[in-house]
């Protein structure tokens, strides 16, 4: 009984708010078509064997076979390890560089705005630009880093960075960090502005040194924004496709292959859409876990504003 009266309440509420839905309706329709339907269809496809000519009416139901194929494939373990290294290393280093840059820029001096803008440029331009520029920098014969290394006596001959199974992944991580550390910087700079000056000054009067001021006054104020930043960086890194795809295509010999490049290769290189869909669903699940924390971190205090 109580259950049904709550339902009535919900219905009554929906009717009372019916005009509100008109505002959301256009967005809702677009999202259903380009987001909800694709997610549903990906899950569906993951249970089917799909024909190579992509005539989906000929697909055959095979239950969980695609998942078994993905999880037991020879490359899965290695690609997963690569994905974790890529995501974690990029995130940690980008965050630390961003934190250092934010703290260094956190005082008034001439040219501060200019420096901030300059540091942000790699983040603003396309990852395609980053990939192409660094491909040239890493070039095995005429690359500038290789030539510098020879000049400084660090190496006998130009270094082959991206065609080498030992250095490919690390080289790509450097490019990724180059591109995104300033995102962490800008987030943390915004966070630093929430640290009250009076507190810092009071700590200084009390004789706290710079480290103590940072650790006991600044750091606690950065906790929230740091959490969001790390999560967003992790999501972006986990999902990044352009840099590995353009620079190495996952090679050499899978040395820089991550989940995303693997999925793309399965789907559009080998036309195995069922398997690729199963892979995507596994990725969905991981992202949902990250997403849970993301939403939690973002919605603190969201319900204070209401009509």
């Amino acid at each position: 009984m109580g259950n049904s009266s709550r339902k009535d309440g919900l219905l009554a509420q929906i009717i009372a708010h019916r005009v509100d839905y008109l505002y959301v309706l256009p967005a809702l329709i677009v999202m259903l078509v380009v987001i909800a339907y694709p997610i549903y269809y990906t899950v569906e496809l993951s249970f089917y064997k799909t024909p190579a000519n992509l005539q989906m009416k000929d697909k055959i139901f095979i239950g969980l076979d695609n998942y078994v194929t993905v999880l037991t494939s020879r490359s899965f373990h290695k690609v997963t390890v690569n994905t974790v290294i890529w995501t974690v290393a990029s995130t940690i280093v980008a965050f630390l560089l961003g934190l250092g840059a934010a703290l260094s820029l956190n005082r008034e001096f001439q040219g501060r705005g200019f420096l901030r803008a300059l540091l942000l440029i790699p983040y603003v331009v396309s990852a395609v630009s980053a990939s192409l520029i660094w491909q040239w920098i890493y070039h095995s014969d005429f690359g500038v880093i290789g030539a510098l290394a020879v000049e400084l006596g660090l190496s006998e001959e130009p270094i082959n960075f991206i065609d080498n199974i030992h250095t490919a992944l690390a080289s790509l991580i450097v490019v990724n960090i180059w591109r995104e550390f300033s995102f962490a910087m800008i987030m943390l700079m915004a966070g630093l502005q929430t640290v009250p000056d009076s507190l810092l000054r009071a700590a200084q009067v009390d004789g706290a040194n710079a480290w103590n001021r940072f650790w006991h006054v600044t750091a606690p104020h950065l906790k929230g924004v740091s959490m969001v930043t790390v999560l967003l960086l992790m999501v972006a890194n986990f999902n990044s496709f352009i840099i590995p795809w353009i620079m190495t295509g996952g090679g050499p010999a899978g040395a820089s292959d991550i989940w995303i490049t693997q999925i793309y290769e399965l789907a559009f290189g080998r036309q195995r859409w069922g398997t690729a869909s199963a892979y995507s669903v596994i990725l969905f699940v991981v992202m949902m876990a990250l997403g849970y924390f993301y939403v939690k971190a973002l919605t603190r205090g969201d319900d204070r504003r209401a009509e």
Binding site: G113, A147, A210
Partner: protein, 285 residues
């Protein structure tokens, strides 16, 4: 009487040193791109490299921007395609996002939280996993290879992002303004249109820039959906230069530079909004 000499502030010096390091790391690749783009192909392919171009030339840029030769023709066409697709995406995304963002910010209708979380969660998923179903959808609609397929699919990231950013801006507009207007007899929709909309212009501009830059830089959908060379957008088209003239690094660097110019200019002019849009929501003001 003099006070004791001020001790050296090591932390300040550490900060300066760090800035120098991070600046070098950021800027050197950009400088090397520019230096390469003003070299001749012969000069770029030397070992050891010419650190400074012996005979700087703008030939690569002239070639790309001159509509009378085939390279320039292609490049300008890609440029136009990118511009056109990005503009259409931005317009469509912002128009649809404005009322939705406003509703998420102000109204408390059943399902609001759930819907808003689904908007947020979209940002968690990579384009690649949407490619297959969207490809089939576009094929079914007969849009594969068209710019319409790009505009539609760019909404997958443009729309959620726009809603999220705009909601942040609406959240910061005091609700008392609308309440005052309501008391003066305005309907809720009038209050939205006449009070809130004008106040949120900076937010709309910021959102539009964000959306434009995102669409301009997009690569994955363009790579997969566009099969005709004359429909390609810049990020994909530029790679074609690379594939066709496998060794023309100066030309490629010049093209990369030109591709980056519009977004960097937009960013520099509207930096304040850009930074605000980026950090919106993550920092409670």
């Amino acid at each position: 009487m003099s006070t004791a000499r001020k001790p050296i502030d090591w932390w300040r010096w550490a900060g300066r040193g760090f800035l120098l390091f991070i600046l070098t790391f950021t800027v050197i690749p950009m400088i090397w791109m520019l230096l390469t783009s003003i070299k001749t192909q012969f000069a770029a392919m030397q070992y050891p490299p010419q650190w400074w171009p012996a005979e700087p030339t703008l030939e690569n840029y002239v070639k790309l921007l001159d509509p009378t030769n085939s390279v320039g023709q292609d490049f300008l066409l890609y440029f136009w395609n990118s511009f056109y697709v990005a503009l259409a995406t931005t317009f469509l995304g912002v128009v649809v996002a404005i009322p939705a963002a406003y509703a998420f910010s102000r109204f408390r209708f059943p399902g609001r939280t759930f819907l808003f979380f689904s908007v947020l969660l979209r940002n968690m998923f990579p384009a690649v996993v949407f490619l297959m179903p969207l490809f089939l959808l576009m094929r079914w609609m007969g849009l594969v290879g068209s710019h319409a397929s790009l505009v539609l699919t760019y909404l997958t990231f443009g729309l959620p992002l726009s809603i999220w950013l705009l909601k942040g801006f609406y959240d910061n507009i005091p609700i008392q303004l609308e309440q005052a207007a309501r008391i003066d007899g305005a309907t809720r929709f009038q209050a939205f249109l006449l009070i809130v909309m004008p106040l949120s212009t900076p937010g709309i501009i910021a959102t539009a820039i964000f959306s434009f830059i995102g669409a301009w830089n997009e690569y994955v959908y363009a790579l997969t959906f566009i099969n005709r060379q004359d429909r390609m957008t810049l990020p994909v088209g530029i790679q074609r230069f690379f594939a066709e003239f496998a060794t023309d690094w100066p030309g490629l660097m010049a093209a990369t530079f030109l591709m980056s110019v519009p977004v960097v200019v937009l960013f520099l002019v509207l930096q304040k909004y850009f930074v605000r849009a980026l950090t919106e929501g993550a920092v409670k003001h």
